[in-house]
């Protein structure tokens, strides 16, 4: 089986640099969430020179729009959404100190360049496993943009949250390496 690591957030640049593409990780700690609408608003604030409602420096950002929690549940179904829709905004957030992104699907060259520049990693959670991932959430609260509903920025405290190192700090991209290794066309 692929090598498996435990990642406790927040983590140092040294720890991030020790992660290699293809490794499985189990995350413990606090993530912030954000998808299309929250990204659009954050970028508008940055462009206007206004402060962001959340600190991005050294944070882990999870691209997710969860289902509402049922009574007795901390969080509803909460799997990753397609990261590439955030690509246009991401380099700017990485330059502000964002260190970890969690989502699904390939990223643009501009994102990978900004990741190498800022020593950031991109982790893939498994798309379509929102029920399973909801079991890893211990605490959830809205941090900002509450009016956006499912697209609001939440803080999620997770334990044993499974992910795969998809792009490491060196820019090695599993979305290229993986399929190339198995391609028979």
């Amino acid at each position: 089986m692929n090598k498996c690591k435990f990642l406790s957030l927040p983590c140092s640049t040294k720890e991030l640099e020790s992660l290699n593409t293809g490794e499985m990780v189990y995350i413990k700690g606090t993530l912030i969430t954000g998808r299309d609408a929250a990204h659009k608003r954050m970028i508008e604030l940055i462009k206007k020179g206004q402060p962001l409602p959340v600190e991005l420096k050294d944070q882990a950002l999870y691209y997710v729009g969860p289902c509402p929690a049922k009574p007795g549940q901390v969080m509803g179904s909460c799997g990753p959404t397609t990261s590439s829709r955030m690509d246009v905004y991401t380099p700017m957030l990485l330059d502000l100190g964002l260190k970890i992104m969690i989502g699904k699907g390939q990223r643009d060259y501009s994102v990978i360049d900004a990741m190498i520049r800022n020593k950031a990693v991109y982790l893939a959670a498994i798309g379509g496993t929102g029920a399973l991932l909801s079991k890893c959430v211990r605490k959830a609260k809205v941090l900002a943009f509450e009016d956006l509903g499912t697209e609001a920025i939440y803080s999620l405290t997770v334990e044993n949250f499974p992910a795969i190192v998809a792009i490491d700090t060196k820019g090695n991209d599993l979305y290229k390496i993986g399929p190339t290794a198995f391609c028979r066309l």
């Binding site: 699904k104 893939a124 496993t129 979305y175």
Partner: protein
């Protein structure tokens, strides 16, 4: 004339929405299990295992399989001897969607395309009606997530491009989609008709019991050929490499015009949700 009251339709649509989003059908489960046994990538195998665990958690706890509980696509076959009483059929379908999504704590993802203002109740549904013989009402609810819907494509090919052109377009669509539609996927292909007919055929192809070949042996052969090609792409589970990119390719065809060859590809993620009821 057989009478069916709208209240029965509301209850049925409500139940189908919840069942579709939380309980996956055996056809997809079986294909995932076979894929797990066949997959040669270790990481791919691990991903397929987590997908199977997710199905188990969702069904034992009635939690939506995926947080993207989709836009509700509803196919209605109305027997010509059925009379709907107590209100409008369209309103009843939307009321069922509204209640189902609220009751089961499912995500409301539907909004105005320009203002991006959410309708707050996941309505309206996309409803397709078909009038058929008989006195029954058949309702199919297929909540469609947009990770895979966004990767779907349509092209008006030239007749000269023929079957080779069709194969190239389907394969190219899957390769371009890569990891985004959450592979392993089910590929729905519509060939023929007009532009909108091809798109509808592709959507209907996804609704077929997963892995059941076309009744037309030539089309069944084409489905097999395309599935093999797609699984040689290396994309694999979640696009991270492997031998399981698609679980099935389903093709539906319809006669077309002498000047045209419309082809639509509708991609469905592994959370292939659809539930049916006959009233």
């Amino acid at each position: 004339m057989r009478k069916i009251h709208v209240n029965k339709i509301i209850d049925t649509v409500q139940r189908l929405c919840i069942d579709a989003c939380c309980f996956l059908e055996d056809d997809v489960k079986n294909l995932l299990h076979k894929a797990y046994n066949r997959e040669i990538s270790e990481l791919g195998k691990n991903i397929l295992q987590q997908i199977q665990q997710n199905i188990h958690v969702a069904e034992t706890e009635t939690i939506p399989l995926c947080q993207d509980t989709g836009m509700a696509v509803v196919f209605v076959e109305i027997g010509q001897d059925v009379h709907i009483t107590g209100g409008s059929l369209y309103d009843a379908i939307n009321e069922g969607v509204r209640r189902g999504y609220e009751l089961a704590f499912m995500r409301k993802s539907v909004l105005d395309p320009i203002s991006r203002t959410n309708t707050q109740d996941n309505t309206p549904a996309v409803v397709h009606y078909n009038i058929v013989d008989g006195d029954k009402l058949r309702i199919t609810v297929a909540p469609k997530g947009f990770g895979s819907e966004n990767m779907s494509r349509l092209k008006m090919l030239k007749p000269a491009q023929g079957i080779e052109g069709v194969k190239k377009f389907v394969l190219d669509t899957v390769l371009k989609a890569g990891a985004n539609p959450c592979p392993p996927i089910i590929v729905g292909v519509g060939i023929g008709g007009t532009m909108e007919k091809a798109a509808l055929l592709a959507k209907q192809a996804i609704l077929r019991k997963a892995g059941t070949p076309s009744k037309n042996p030539n089309i069944a052969q084409l489905e097999k050929e395309l599935l093999d090609l797609i699984n040689m792409s290396g994309i694999g589970p979640q696009g991270l490499g492997g031998t399981t990119t698609a679980l099935a390719v389903h093709i539906e065809t319809f006669p077309t015009h002498i000047a045209g060859l419309p082809v639509a590809v509708n991609i469905q993620c592994h959370v292939a949700r659809h539930k049916q009821a006959i009233l």
